[in-house]
Each structure stands twice: as structure tokens, then as C-alpha cells.
Assembly symmetry: C2
DNA sequence: CCAGCAAATAAGTATGACTTTTAAGTCACG
DNA sequence: CGTGACTTAAAAGTCATACTTATTTGCTGG
């Protein structure tokens, strides 16, 4: 191909590692559907394509394989697996799909997920939240009120995200807590699609305050109910729920 | 150490690959807490421990790293990351933890998760289920009724698991659908801890029939409510919910 | 005491030789 | 023709080694 001097290989790595570079190229390509399920990739082909050694390709393939994105078989090659088998909860896959053409569909899935989880998390938070977490919660809620009017959407978003993170963390359930990033992504994504001039729904803002109060009071039932009202709004926006 | 002849390395692989063997040993060990967060593993140490080459160790480490179980840094080694950073939704990690001393805690987390998801899934299923799926649902529900008395717990479990799988799949949400394995694991785990002579709660059985009816009728509200009653029972069993 | 340089260390990468699995093709026999 | 056993070859899997690069540690001189 192209000679590039005695140094051997071209452009310097730059990233954390070569395998990451391959992964960050192959992963998005597969999840975007550039290589439909059934497509067979051969490692030596990938070596040439990315101009890296077998070592690097194999490491990337191993990771892809652990996500059930591909399957590597002898005498066959690296086969892209059917979509239904992918580890759709893998944060990396979520990230790749959010960055690709599947973004709308992914956002809908994630919204449905968060709408199911958050009310339950709020109920648990009402029973497990520490005083510090309660304080954080009310603080964020008040800040949401303060930034809810006058085109301060970016600032509002920061507190909105923080609020929901605290709820999830305070639930005491490690799996719920892990969904903080997902919720952040959904909330941010929603804001981007909204007209930047429209302020947040005042009722939604009030609901956040109510949730904070309920959690502080240890009222699980109320915390769950108010949170559900918040998430129902999110579902309606995407027509997931019948009006 | 121990000489093993001119062949070079000992016992034949047997598994799908050497890296898997390493993974299936290291993963459980880390998730079980044998190597607490902060522990540093050096690759050449692992090479010797498992009697495999650098290549194999690195591939296993890459996978562990993609799960955020460890972090590999130059001049430092492979460090076990704090528990909060683990990808607790990774099916493999879930499996490892269910097989280890963390099993009870893991089952509680998963039960809370499923209790949050399934009612929402049932509501969506009522709107999206195909006639075939409705048929499957009623069939499994009827089979549950049939096997609910007279120490037929294993048979009952099969239909119970199948029932919940159909609900999750019929929701039309790929992420919900992916939780089928988790629910299966929780249901199975619950049965194991139960006295094998006690038949399932008759009310729970009835609720499954009601859910099937509601889904068939397209009544999302009812499907959600009945499913919630089922999962609330599961929560109470583990004292996650206040009585 | 600190800046900056030097050395040591462990992971990262490349490469070539070899092994193992297995799909696919071949051939003899019914 | 079909069928089953045998052969072949293709591709991943593994290993050993040489070399590169980043980063910590610590030393050294201002």
C-alpha cells in the first residue's frame, strides 16, 4: 500500500490505545447497521483496514464479542450477530446507538425504561435517603424553580439531571443508581429537540419540588406518585403512552 | 513450578478458548471480592498463574476493562475498580455475582428492577401484543393454573418464566425484552429458596390469568395493575417493600 | 524546596511460527 | 446417484520474542 517510512506505521495513536481506536470505529459501524447481522469480517482484512497488528484487532474483537455484537468462529470469521442478541444495556452500545441513525428509537426505549424505573427509585429513596441527599434534592429542586423562567434552559437542565441522579442514587439500589447516565442522556436529548425559547412546563417543575418534599418526609407513596407524573409527561412527549 | 513435559503447556483448553478460561476465573474472583477494589494485578503474574501467553491474558483483561471491572494503566498494572463503577447491567457480571457470595444482594437488586419494569412492560404489551403472543400468554397462564397444585413446582416454574418472557417481549421494547433472562433467574432463584412442598400462592396464579386477559383485551391499565400486584408480592417476600 | 532530567518498569504493539478447529470438497463404495 | 469417510485448506487461536511508549519514581543540581 502506502509506504510511510522506517517508523513502520502511520499516524500516531493519540487515543488511549490502538484497540480503542478500532473499537470506536467498528462498534458504531456495527450498531449503525453498516455491517448488517450475518456480515462476516476477517481479522486480516481488519488488520489492513486499520493498519494495526493482529494483537490489536483481536482485542477489539474480543470486546465486541463480550457485548454479543459479533461472534468469532474458526474457519469462518467474525460474524455480526442478530440485533436481538446485542447487550442493549451496555453503556457503550447505548452511546454508539445514540450517536447513530438509531438515536430516535434508542431514546424512546430509554425513556420507557426510565419511566418505569424512576417512580420505583423515588419510593425507595423516600425510605433510604440520607439527610444529605434530602438536602441535595431540595436544593436542586429549588434551583430548577429559579431557572425555570427566562430562557435559562441550560442551567435548568443541569439541576434537572442532578436531581434525578440523586433520586436514583438514594434509592440504595446499585442498578438503579447506574441508570443516572442514561437519564442524563435522555434529559439532554430531549432538551436538544425542544425549542430553546420555550421554558419548561411549570407543572413539571412543581412536581420536582413535591418529590423532594415527599422524599424528605419519608412518604414513599407520594414520592412514587409525583415521580410517575413527571415521567408520564416524558412518555407522552414521545407518544409512547396513549393520551 | 511443575514440569509438564515437552508439549509446553499443561491441560488441554477444553473450553471455547483460553481467554474464556481466564475470564471465567478472574471475573467471578473480582466480583466476589477476592480482589478488592484497588488491588493491582500484573499481566506477567497472570500469565504464570494461568499458564497462558501474554496474548490470552491481554484479551481477558480487555474484556474485564470493557465491563469497567478493572483499569489497565501503563507502568502501574491492572487495577480493580471500585464497585460503583462496574457495569452492573452486564449479563456476565450478573451471572458471576449470582454465582458468588453476593447472590442474595444481587437477587434483591434484580427483584426491585423487575418489579419496576414488568408492570410497564405489561401495559405496553396490552397495546402491542400480536394475536400469537396473546395466545401464548393465555396458554402459559392456563398451564400455570394446571400445575399450581400438587407439588408440580418445576413444571409451574417453566410456564411462569415463559409467561413473563412473553410479556417482556410483547412490550415491543428491546430493552425490556432483554430482561427476560434476568427475570428467569430471579424466578428460579426464588423457587430454590422456597420450601419445595408448598404450592404457589393461588392468588398469584389468578393474577397471571387476569394479566393474560387484560393484554388480550388491550386493557393497558388493567394489565399494568395486575402485573404490579404480582411483582409487589415478590418485593414483599424480600422485605424490599414495607408491608 | 522545587524544577527538571534520568532510569526503571509495566503495559502496549508488532511479527512470525505454529496449532486447532471446521467448512467444504473429494472420492470410493453401496 | 446418494452417502459416508477421508482429505484439504482456510481462518481463528496461541505462543514466544523483540521492541515501543508512557509514566512513575527518584535523583540531581539550582
Amino acid at each position: 500500500m502506502d509506504e510511510q517510512g522506517p517508523e513502520g506505521r502511520g499516524q500516531r495513536p493519540r487515543g488511549r490505545g490502538l484497540h480503542d481506536r478500532v473499537l470506536e470505529s467498528l462498534g458504531p459501524a456495527i450498531t449503525a447497521g453498516d455491517y448488517p447481522p450475518g456480515t462476516v469480517l476477517r481479522t486480516d482484512e481488519l488488520e489492513r483496514r486499520y493498519d494495526v497488528s493482529r494483537t490489536v484487532v483481536r482485542e477489539a474483537v474480543r470486546v465486541l464479542e463480550s457485548m454479543h455484537l459479533v461472534e468469532s468462529r474458526r474457519r469462518v470469521g467474525v460474524t455480526v450477530r442478530p440485533t436481538e442478541e446485542w447487550d442493549v444495556f451496555d453503556p457503550q452500545i447505548i452511546r454508539w446507538r445514540l450517536a447513530g441513525p438509531d438515536r430516535p428509537r434508542q431514546l424512546r426505549s430509554l425513556t420507557a425504561l426510565r419511566s418505569a424505573i424512576e417512580p420505583a427509585a423515588a419510593a425507595l429513596a423516600a425510605e433510604h435517603a440520607t439527610p444529605e441527599q434530602c438536602a441535595e434534592l431540595t436544593e436542586h429542586a429549588l434551583n430548577m424553580v429559579a431557572t425555570s423562567r427566562g430562557q435559562q434552559l441550560p442551567a435548568y437542565l443541569v439541576h434537572d439531571v442532578a436531581f434525578h441522579r440523586v433520586i436514583l442514587r438514594a434509592s440504595g439500589n446499585e442498578m438503579f443508581a447506574r441508570l443516572g447516565d442514561v437519564v442524563a442522556e435522555v434529559l439532554t436529548g430531549r432538551t436538544q429537540h425542544r425549542v430553546m425559547f420555550s421554558d419548561p412546563d411549570p407543572e413539571a417543575v412543581t412536581l420536582h419540588v413535591r418529590v423532594a418534599e415527599a422524599v424528605r418526609a419519608g412518604d414513599a407513596e407520594a414520592a412514587e406518585r409525583y415521580t410517575r407524573e413527571i415521567t408520564v409527561g416524558a412518555l407522552r412527549e414521545l407518544d409512547i403512552l396513549a393520551p
